[in-house]
Symmetry: none
Subunit: 219 residues, 2 copies
DNA sequence: CGCAAACTGACCGCCACCTGACAGGCGCCG
DNA sequence: CGGCGCCTGTCAGGTGGCGGTCAGTTTGCG
């Protein structure tokens, strides 16, 4: 398994790298976000370990941008900030898991193994929603057993609903999820994507809460 | 849930306070940071709503100081500054979520409910009234187990009754609740909405006190 | 019995939302 | 490097639900 480690603390970074290598995976270790961007653009990784405080920026916007591009590489956040808020914003941004420093290297191994099993092991966890079967790890959806192909944006949007079943999501919340901070969207792009999702997955999949937003339909 | 609202705009503050109260939470409303500091020192809150521009200082340093003291009370930022830097620094300072003014009060409710759910880890508290199950935070009602869809106005009206079970509410009180002060309503709109509510939720839900107003029926 | 208050079915204008069409952009492939 | 196809934001026209108004009827009280 190929792992991208983004961590600027040299001592901690080296320790993590060695641990992962000892587990039999290959590691690329970057200390800055721009280096990490280059690495992700040129190579395929099975897992990203992301520190939240890097010398050239924050991890959360980086992760959001990654997800907005449709990248579904599993990401585990490493944070020294033992604050619920950071973990929540991290998970909201699309992280798969998080570890609070200082953490036990054995625990890191366990989490990586879990991800590895999820991604290379045979059975992926499948979420079933009426006629829909969603494999979040494999980024695939089936409607009545037939595979449905979603585009990057559609997947990000759909994922947002599946991760919070039944919860109301306002348009602005969805825009945050789909677009990075600097993008200005003054249109009905969300409506259009919802419409396209309904066309592919069935009209009842996403319900409109007039004046408030959308939520996943109860099957 | 106890909410601390820190907002110096009197009109907006009052509107937010009323909305939170309508959701069944208790609110303390402060217009200045030093007042808020005192409030936080003397009482325990489950949520803080923080405006970023207060007359005696900025919200971000206030939030940072809060977190530095180890306080993990969830904080939602209210800001008129729709700027990348403010939002990022807000989240980085330890905010859990933010809302850009002007925002819909219903959206505020939804986010508060979301925060409440995340932190308690439990589903929302359900108010049971005979055959009715009301989830104020999720804005949902069930009649004999079957979900009933209420429109925006219907919900606001129903909420007013559920919040004060058994209490008499005059038409003018309800009009105040449904409409902003500048709106002129010279009709039987309240009667019509009551009628529609009874149709959806059962005739006995709301009782008429002829010449005085309405009250929630005893099941 | 008479009157006022309340009820409710119907109507209609407005606005949030939907959706088909289109074009710019980007990657891919020959 | 040029052409092609897919993705996705924008726009405009359509529509359907929401909610205020009205009118005819019913209810309750003196």
């Amino acid at each position: 398994m190929r792992v991208l480690l983004i961590e600027d603390d040299t001592a901690l970074g080296a320790a993590i790298r060695d641990q992962i290598a000892a587990d039999g995976h290959s590691v690329d270790w970057m200390g800055r976000l721009d280096e990490a961007r280059d690495a992700l653009a040129t190579a395929a990784y099975d897992l990203v370990l992301l520190d939240l405080m890097l010398p050239d920026g924050l991890g959360i916007p980086f992760l959001k941008a990654l997800r907005a591009r449709g990248d579904v590489t599993p990401v585990i956040i490493l944070t020294a900030l033992d604050q619920v808020s950071d973990r929540i914003s991290g998970l909201n941004a699309g992280a798969d898991d998080y570890l609070v420093k200082p953490f036990d290297l054995a625990e890191l191994s366990a989490r990586i193994g879990s991800v590895a099993r999820r991604y290379t092991g045979n059975p992926n966890p499948i979420v079933t929603l009426g006629p829909l079967e969603i494999d979040l790890a494999a980024r695939s959806v089936r409607l009545n057993g037939k595979p449905v192909v979603l585009t990057a944006r559609e997947w990000v949007l759909f994922q947002a609903f599946v991760q919070r079943p039944g919860q109301l999501l306002s348009k602005s919340q969805l825009e945050e999820r789909l677009y990075s901070f600097d993008q200005e969207i003054d249109s009905n792009a969300i409506e259009v994507h919802v419409s396209r999702l309904r066309k592919k997955l069935g009209a009842h999949v996403i319900e409109t809460e007039r004046g408030l937003g959308y939520r996943l339909g109860r099957p």
